[in-house]
């Protein structure tokens, strides 16, 4: 008995180690490429680099435009501003809407919720043409603000569903008690409801941030000046269809771009389970 459980455990660990290794391999290869010289991928799966260099990082970070402006800095700033703006705006929009859906019974509620669900099914990539037209009419092409609007609205439906699910689990009596205690509705929203919904808000923020930080197609379409690009657009230019692929620079860029988002992801991951299961996924 004792022997067999020990055996079982060892097998479990072996399985997990192999599987985790396989999962991490692509990441490890990118890390290796980022620090080894040369533009091409090497023909090996050994993740330990044979020679270490910082040339790719220097190339990516030091990139300048034809008239000598420092591009990487500009693009990093763009990406950061867009992601933060999207997070703030997205969380604000989703939280207010989700609260209304969760707490009030008003005509149009079911229709509205259905609409929020259904628009997710329309392929976002193909909303691009009309979005392009609308943004150009609003004069928001090539601007940070335009992308913030686009990202936060496309992230809304999922965030609203998740937050609504979480708000539903907050007892109504808490708000009634606060109402009797003399707090206004708005005040209740931000002193009682929002603090209690922190896990779900964290997940919402994470998703909004990821949407904005990682998106490539819309950014590539709506931005057409190099200095207004976001990092994904920059990154793709190293291995894009034109010219020969520079995998070294791509890998270095990928590492730089992934670090903040992975860090954020891990910082918030303990909320992931509770935020997700209480919220949207349970519906």
């Amino acid at each position: 008995m004792q022997q067999s459980t020990k055996m079982n455990r060892a097998i479990t660990h072996l399985f997990l180690i192999i599987f985790t290794g396989m999962t991490l391999l692509p990441v490890a290869l990118v890390l290796r490429k980022a620090v080894s010289p040369g533009k091409a991928f090497e023909l090996t799966i050994n993740p330990i680099p044979s020679k270490v260099t910082s040339e790719h990082f220097r190339e990516v970070i030091g990139k300048t435009s034809s008239d000598g402006k420092w591009l990487f800095g500009r693009q990093l700033l763009n990406s950061t501003l867009i992601a933060l703006g999207t997070t703030l705006l997205g969380v604000f929009l989703a939280a207010t809407a989700a609260y209304a859906f969760s707490r009030f019974r008003f005509p149009g509620r079911n229709g509205g919720m259905m609409a929020f669900l259904v628009v997710q099914m329309f392929p976002a990539t193909l909303l691009m043409i009309p979005m392009y037209v609308i943004l150009s009419k609003l004069g928001l092409l090539n601007s940070i603000l335009g992308l913030i609007f686009v990202y936060s609205t496309t992230a809304i439906p999922f965030c609203v569903w998740m937050l609504k699910g979480y708000f539903d689990t907050i007892p109504k009596e808490l708000e009634e008690a606060a109402l009797i205690d003399g707090a206004s509705r708005i005040r209740i929203f931000y002193t009682i409801v929002l603090p209690l919904a922190r896990p779900a808000l964290a997940v919402t923020a994470l998703f909004s941030f990821m949407t904005a930080w990682n998106e490539y197609i819309l950014a590539a379409t709506f931005l057409n000046r190099e200095e207004s690009y976001t990092l994904p657009v920059l990154l793709n230019s190293y291995v894009g269809e034109h010219g020969s692929a520079n995998w070294g620079a791509f890998a270095a860029g990928a590492v730089l771009v992934s670090i903040p988002i992975v860090a954020l992801f891990y910082a918030l991951q303990k909320h992931l389970v509770s935020g997700l299961t209480a919220g949207g996924v349970k519906g």
């Binding site: 997990l16 929009l93 207010t96 008003f106 392929p123 193909l126 691009m128 009309p130 291995v239 996924v281």
Partner: protein, 585 residues
């Protein structure tokens, strides 16, 4: 008076007013779209083409001037300038001047083109284009000045040589509006005022007035359009007669057979009627009451609602509408269901052709099913292993295993694209180590599909793992204790206890996951890029290619999007029904 009533009255008036405005706008647009365009543009174009060809055929100065006079006399609706320009000398630079051979401004005949004048410059450019093309050209737009559109230009040949160029330019005036629309708007305004007053002081009268007004409006609209129609017909007849005289033929031109489109009226007037009926049944008042009652809820929804309406719903509707149009060279033409027919009929391609809709649909469904299956099985298996409270390092395993979820997915896609590279890719390297042949991953459908699925599986299993972990944690331990007491074997515990209890949490995740996978653009687009020959494309990348890589066919792409939407909508409906049935059962 109570505020509720006032708001109600305002809303009713708003309804009535917008009903009027909509029908007025509908009529106006229908006239503008078909009437004005046909009257102004088509005959002018026909004239110009005829004239240019005629002049080019005759090619002698007196005939050209006579033809010009005939046209000027007949085409009263047009302001146009017609000229014939001298050839330039190819030899001597100083002789490269062009002169008027004939012009509707007789004074200029024989004069040199003045390069300072935009009109003359345009003529000069047009002559150059015709010369280099060596054939008649229609509609050469000037990029700087849209007023100076060259409608037609034709080379004049003499003894087999380019002798001159006949050019017709219109400088269209502001299009003459068929009839002033202001009576309609005045009517609407009056109705608005009536509705407002009546709603405030005599709720019953309001209904009658709104109805009467709308009926009156509709009648008036019909009368007005028929006026526009008559004017149009008269103009057409006149134009045709003039043309026949000019050309000396009795043929009719296709361009002239257009008639005012009834669409705007067919849509506009019923819409107006529906809106007024709503107003009639007091929807306005009820809406006002409920708006007052639920003010806070609506206020909270406004920010998100506005954003969604502007940047999601509007594009969505625009996309729906686009599906019924054909887009070519910057112009949209209404084609009805043609795009859908083209897609759903397979577009004359055999079923095995990668661009056949059903082929792509099959690939998409297979892609979704395989991915979701792999995500769920791998995610669930890992969750079951990691659930064990006695397992050591499980926090570390978990943290490492969700890394693919945290990585930006376009980076993932590009990494895997590199890993599947024939020459340098790690995957082929592994195959070689194991002693197998290298595989050219993107040159056959099955291997390209496998590459895509591998990438997406790597990317997607952590989400399912986290959901399954969360769901497993919420299953109370005493259920397992009870099963243990009953002596159930492990696989039975899994299939009869764990799985049914997980279902409520997994089901929505699976539905959501399949919707995401169905529309997973990045992976297909970046990893296999549809290779070979678009066979590994799924519906959404296919649509993208139609829109941006195969001749800007926005209409067709939008039709694809609509079909994707319908498929997913019914899928989620059915899934919903199934989940309800399975939960009831």
């Amino acid at each position: 008076m109570k505020r509720k009533h006032i708001t109600g009255a305002l809303l009713t008036a708003l309804f009535a007013g917008s009903a009027v405005a909509i029908s007025a706008a509908a009529v106006y647009l229908s006239a503008l779209n078909s009437g004005e365009k046909a009257i102004i543009e088509s005959p002018a174009r026909a004239y110009a083409a005829a004239l240019a060809l005629r002049v080019a055929k005759d090619a002698s100065p007196p005939t050209a001037q006579t033809a010009l006079a005939a046209v000027t006399q007949n085409a009263k609706a047009l302001e146009h300038i017609s000229v014939v320009v001298e050839p330039r000398s190819t030899k001597y630079r100083f002789l490269r001047k062009r002169r008027f051979l004939a012009a509707n401004d007789a004074k200029r005949v024989g004069a040199v083109l003045n390069k300072q004048s935009p009109l003359d410059k345009r003529l000069y450019d047009a002559a150059s284009s015709v010369r280099s093309a060596g054939k008649p050209l229609l509609e050469l737009r000037s990029p700087q000045d849209s007023n100076l559109t060259v409608l037609a230009a034709a080379p004049v040949m003499r003894e087999g040589k380019h002798y001159a160029t006949a050019i017709v330019i219109t400088a269209p005036k502001a299009p003459p509006v068929p009839a002033p629309a202001w009576p309609l708007f005045a009517c609407g305004l009056a109705l608005f005022a009536f509705a407002l007053l009546a709603a405030l002081f005599a709720p019953r009268l309001r209904h009658v007035l709104v109805l009467l007004g709308v009926i009156g409006m509709s009648g008036f609209s019909w009368w007005w359009t028929s006026g526009v129609s008559a004017a149009y017909t008269a103009n057409l007849t006149h134009t045709l007669a003039g043309l026949q005289r000019t050309l000396g033929t009795s043929g009719s031109l296709d361009a002239l057979s257009a008639s005012p489109s009834p669409w705007a009226l067919i849509i506009g007037i019923p819409l107006a009627l529906v809106i007024s009926l709503l107003a009639l049944f007091g929807v306005g008042r009820r809406m006002a009451a409920s708006m007052a009652e639920h003010r806070l809820a609506y206020t909270l929804l406004i920010p998100a609602g506005l954003g969604m309406a502007l940047l999601v719903l509007l594009p969505f509707v625009y996309g729906l509408a686009l599906g019924f149009f054909n887009h070519q060279h910057g112009e949209y033409n209404f084609v009805g269901l043609k795009n859908f027919v083209e897609i759903l009929s397979g577009g004359d391609r055999p079923l095995s052709h990668p661009l056949n809709f059903y082929f792509t649909l099959g690939v998409t469904v297979l892609w979704t099913a395989v991915n979701v299956f792999l995500h769920v099985t791998i995610g669930l298996a890992l969750a079951l292993v990691l659930k064990d409270p006695l397992l050591r390092f499980k926090g570390i395993y978990r943290a490492l295993l969700i890394l693919p979820w945290a990585m930006p997915n376009y980076i993932t896609a590009l990494i895997w694209k590199g890993m599947f590279h024939y020459q340098y890719g790690a995957v082929n390297h592994v195959l070689e180590i194991v002693g197998l042949e290298k595989v050219s991953w993107f040159s056959s459908f099955s291997t390209a599909f496998i590459a895509n699925v591998t990438t997406n599986t790597w990317l997607g299993f952590p989400f399912m793992m986290v959901v399954a972990l969360g769901a497993l944690q919420s299953i109370p331990g005493d259920v397992y204790e009870a099963a243990a007491v009953d002596g159930a074997p492990r696989h039975k515990v899994f299939f009869h206890i764990t799985l049914p209890l997980l279902r409520p949490a997994l089901y929505p995740a699976i539905v959501l996951g399949s919707i995401w996978t169905f529309n997973m653009f990045n992976i297909i687009y970046l990893v296999s890029a549809g290779a070979p020959n678009g066979s590994s494309d799924i519906l959404i990348t296919e649509a993208y290619r139609w829109a941006f890589q195969r001749g800007d066919r926005y209409g067709l792409a939008a039709a694809y999007a609509l079909i994707i939407f319908v498929v997913l909508f019914f899928y989620s409906k059915i899934a919903n029904r199934l989940s309800r049935v399975s939960e009831d059962g």
